[in-house]
Amino acid sequence: MTSDEARSQLDERVREMMKWHFSDETGCPFWLDWKKKAGWDPREEVKSYDDIIKFPHFEDEWLRDEKNERFVPNAYKGRPFNVFETGGTTGLPKQRVGWEDYKHDYEQFSDQLSDEFFPKGGNWIMVGPTGPRRLRLAVEHLANVRGGSCYHVDLDPRWVKKLIGRKELDQVERYQAHVMSQAVEIIKHRDISCIFTTPRLLASIGERISISDHGIKGCFCGGTSMTPEYVRFLQEEVLESRAQFVPTYGNTLMGLAVSIPEELPEKNYSVTYYAPQPRAVLRIVDPEKTEITKDYGEYGRVELTTLSHEFFMPRFLERDEAIRREPHAKYAWDGVGDVRPFGALTKKVIEGVY
């Protein structure tokens, strides 16, 4: 796919979503009411992705204060929905309703994984936040789609955040050790070939056992920002360059932005993520004037637009900043590189708690 083709595919998706979310038969009460109050019809005025800036930024509070039923598209009326929560490490958690999106996202992601490192039929283990998170079902679905089963070890990041806030760092270590001992037992005594976890937990498991020696060939990682040096450490030392490290960037609201793991060493472990376009789009914006897209190579705030039938979320400002990167032969749209917490250089953010 060329960049032009990707762009037209995205514009076509935008038109389709405007029609879907702002038509009485298919749209949800929240957006239909919004349209009435706004006094303009996105179906008429939003004809391409460039027109998305006609929407204001999607606000966190809408996903906290509005009833979830108001986000149910009329097309799905009467179908029970899943309720997924965001991490909740930066405030009250947000909730999002969903049906099949997570399956689409992770089936698409599965197509990107190497069969050598994530063997078909291999079992998985997920070590990280389960509970009300989409990831819990998504990783299990990924394992199932690839013909395997999935073991789970839970970690509650909201509790960890509280401990860090109280400076109870010993408790953090003890809780982490509690989680680790469960994970290590499963890895030691079951046939596991793939793992999903967070960077810190991966390093913590690697402190206790040789991950590769226990049969794990592929590690899909997400959850927090990673410096290039940390990515290198995880790949070369924690995984001993024997298992593949696949960093991802994503959340309940977006799905999964993927990286190109085989290119990490030559890129000095600077990770660039590509959104699952056209289902979601990442844009690097000027934090002061968010209608302006930053130039390639420049840092800016990450803005997310989600364009699925189940959920429309225009111009949500993520808590992260990143470098705008050029499209890649494999992904013909902009990437976001070296993601880090927004304002990381100017303020202290409790991030990467798990």
Binding site: L169, D170, E173, R200, A203, S204, G206, E207, T227, P228, E229, Y230, R232, F233, E237, V238, N268, Y269
Partner: protein, 479 residues
Amino acid sequence: MSAPHIPILRQGKPYVSLDVQTIPKLGTDEAAAEISFACSDMIKYDLHKMGDAREALKKFSCEELVEITKKAGEIFLHDDLPIGVEGGMQSPEDYVLALASTSGLPHSLIRMNMKRLGNIFGQIDDIFQGLTRGLSWGVLDKGYGEQGGAPVSFSPTTNELAVILPSNSPAVNALWIPSIAMKVPVLLKPGREEPWTPWRIIQAFIKAGCPAEAFNLYPTQHDGSGAIIRRAGRVMLFGDDSTVKQYENDERIEVHGTGYSKFVIGEDEIENWEQYIDSMVESVSSNSGRSCICTSSIVVPKYGDEIAHAISKRLAEIKPLAQDDPTAKLSGFANPQFAEWINEAVEEGLESSGSRDITAEYREGERFQENAGMNYLQPTIIRVDSFEEPLALREFLFPFASVVECPQAEVLENIGYSLVLTAVTKDTEWINQLFDCPEIERLNVGNVPTNRISWNQPHEGNLFEFLYTRRSFAFAETA
């Protein structure tokens, strides 16, 4: 010479990180060094392998390591040594210039600190004897032996001595140098502006024949320091009172906190106060007042005003000078904001009606000075009416002291903790009371400046007792 790249040292092996920070030469945009930063998890991983580092040291006898230490001292003082990863070499003079460029220390103070460090290497035998009260080095090689006719055995408490080093005084590296001869590897986290001294000492040890595995250097951020503090077997760190409090019940951690060192004169000697002015001036101002062994309070039964004026007149001669001026005694601040914050704290204390800045009458200009792109604080003597004054028992990172009058009989109940206390007196009863006071770490009786210490008597923790623990033992009699 272009800015060297200081790598991480992992059991002596250089590791160039992708997380690189540049330290500029103070007051310029020019790079003094590029520094590789370690992530906290790397340090945690490496800590698991420190047993290997100790094994490397155990291949040597203590006597061999003592000889290596002595030789390393000469090398540190006189030789060209590798710097960075590009094959560059650093002469002793290059070291002085590099450290001055990032720390703000005058060359003269750096040379003085070099000499002090050189003495530590050279006196390693005496230091060990002092720390162990006469133990033979051979006991550490064998694990057991005799001391004073009694059987003794010592086992190490740790595979590594970790030190979170500050940026403000190269001489603090003296604290870990003896660890090598005691066969305990070191894990050092250098201060942001001061990688130079630990790096150079390590290179000197390696050139002298010490196994490189014994040396670990991790420039790192706050979370890396946290990992070291939580995980290492033994940790030395520097901090204020709150840090001391935080770790007071953790036997793994020795905090070198605020010194609150004092110079007191007894009622029997106060009429001779003029004879002690030199000592008081040295106690307040040596090493630019940065050491915890520098006097921060002078306590006298009378003549407080006269003493404050006399010292102030002398201290006013210490001015911000060019760093390469051989007479420079005042250090600039590597972090210029520090000078502003400290100055604000002093000014805030002076708002109290019972505190007066006596040096203001003698010094040129304000306390806070900018000179050649660097911030300085000129020496300051505050005459306070009582211990209740906010500046009476404060310590700052520049030549600063309060002068307070207090009857001799009430001194001990008012002065609190003192890392070093010099008491000028011949009053036996009072001297006995001072020796009996648990809040005094080092006691000098007579006219000895507080900054003059002897390394064979630890003034703040005993390194040997920190790194080794005594066990009882017995061998079954054989037929």
